[in-house]
């Protein structure tokens, strides 16, 4: 049961809202973090906990694109394809990934490591082309940078090329 495993986090989330249902999306995030997707069992458990019917949980889950109803690869690559990124080469970038990993948007590699999605605007329009991999943003992606990111992920599970606190353009005299 999720509740037993994450009791402190669950209690903390529930304490923030005067109406229980508000805790639904935060709790679904916990469920997704645990299993990589939101399972039916998790939805039923959360429904019971919040005094909702399972369909009430399901209708919320299915509205939001960030919840996966089935397992995705260990690294979920989401490339922004909206106009602002498309102007600076997001379609080309999707092509690179297709070639390098052999998957099209909506597909996963056979080893279960990577899933590719083409998504709508991620609020990084000045630093395109960009992608989000799991929780991290990668911006101003070039083909070389992409190679390094993919190899970093394969080797260490993370990459130093991910974005830090965002600022663009960076200040001229920055120490960063």
């Amino acid at each position: 049961m999720l509740r037993d495993k994450y009791q402190k986090e669950f209690d903390d989330i529930l304490s923030r809202y005067p109406v229980k249902r508000s805790a639904l999306i935060p709790l679904l995030y916990v469920a997704q973090r645990d299993q990589g997707y939101v399972s039916e069992a998790a939805m039923q458990e959360i429904a019971k906990l919040l005094g909702l019917t399972p369909p009430q949980v399901y209708e919320t889950v299915t509205f939001y694109t960030m919840f996966n109803l089935k397992p995705v690869g260990k690294f979920h690559i989401q490339v922004c394809k909206s106009l602002m990124c498309a102007l600076v080469g997001s379609d080309t970038m999707i092509g690179w990934i297709k070639t390098k990993l052999g998957i099209a948007p909506g597909e996963s590699t056979t080893d279960g490591l990577f899933t590719l999605s083409a998504v709508e605007c991620l609020a990084a329009c000045g630093t395109g082309p960009m992608m989000q991999i799991n929780e991290d943003y990668y911006e101003r992606v070039t083909e070389d940078k992409l190679d390094r990111i993919l190899s970093d992920l394969r080797l260490t599970g993370t990459s130093a090329l991910k974005s830090g606190p965002f600022m663009w353009p960076e200040p001229v005299n920055s120490e960063r």
Binding site: T65, C121, G128, E135
Partner: protein, 434 residues
Amino acid sequence: MPQHELILLKNMMQPGYTGSLHDYEKAGGYQAVRTTLGRIAPAEVTAVVRKSGLRGRGGAGFPTGVKWGFLPKDYQGPRYLCCNADESEPGTFKDRQLMERDPHQVLEGIVLACYAIGAESAYIYIRGEMVLGSKILEHAINEARAAGYIGKNILGTGVHVDVWVHRGAGAYICGEETALLESLEGKRGLPRIKPPFPATHGLYNKPTVVNNVETLANLPHIMNRGADWFAAIGSPPKSTGTRVFCVSGHVKRPGNYEVPMGVTVRELVFEHAGGMRSDKPLKAFIPGGASAPFLTPAHLDVKLDFEHVATAGSMLGSGGVTVMEEGTSMVWAALRLMEFFYHESCGKCSPCREGSSWLVQTLRRILAKRGRMQDLETLLDLCKNIAGRTVCAFGDAEVAPIQSTLKHWRQEYVDLIHEADAANLIRPETVVRH
């Protein structure tokens, strides 16, 4: 380039500034909370903000002080403040920078707004993808709580304000304030029919104010330096203060630039953002995010304030300025934006839900050189039947790319259709016509 005083980006432009509580206090942070809470009456704070002329930075540009004034005066019971950090308008990436680089500036604004409207709870509804931003905010909230700027009995004044971060889960529509409230209540993010407005029936049906991140970040400065100071910046009387414009597209130096409202597009694009990235001239730009109609090089000297952009036939919106160079297909650009709106339509109102699908299909056909001349009338007819016929402003927004590109670059549509005709003369079997 003319030098303007930075207000919102000033701290973060200092070398070594980390956005920590220590750095923020050293830069004069939380001074407004100290001098306002318990010393100036909440109604007086609202009056100052109204006098400053501050207008919402999220897109609609509604005067902030007036919005606060709609809350019922004699209501007993909880009121809420929601900070709209669901920055999702394509072309916009300013709130992300404000939250990740100077989170306490936003938090101080939240405390001031809560004090003014009498709210003891504030929720920051941040878009789900911004995981880093939500962590930075949570860390900043903990710092501020430990220092007594947030929580019970702030600085001994008897004022209580608690702040929580609430992550969305990937839905553009949740930036619409009533959809945001639905989402915060754990439901599908479907906009509510207004009236009643959130001021009387908001979160949990209680009086609620929803303000954008950048709007709130302005409040400490207004309280510190006065309404008259703020009201003199920019393009008074109706567009006061600065805007953080997000420049994207085919420019040399895309990014966030804070300038007084009323600078021209030309200055923003050619001086601040370094001009076009190559020798191709500017062909088109969007002045205020994906929902704002496209403009042309003839509009480069339009002043970027609410009134002038509206007069030019577009809107200042969220401040996302996207620049396109010569050679960009406007039919393609309209389709890209239309695909966004099709994907993000929440599905509540049929004109928007069905119409966006038809618009995408028709545009795709034209771009694939299978269009017909009557498609252009169909597009316009569909647009006319979507705009103004939906619960929220999404319907008006989604027709903007098509209506404006058809207005300024109709010939591009016509040329594609003529190419379709020519192709059909060679391959008459491809399409059954009429």
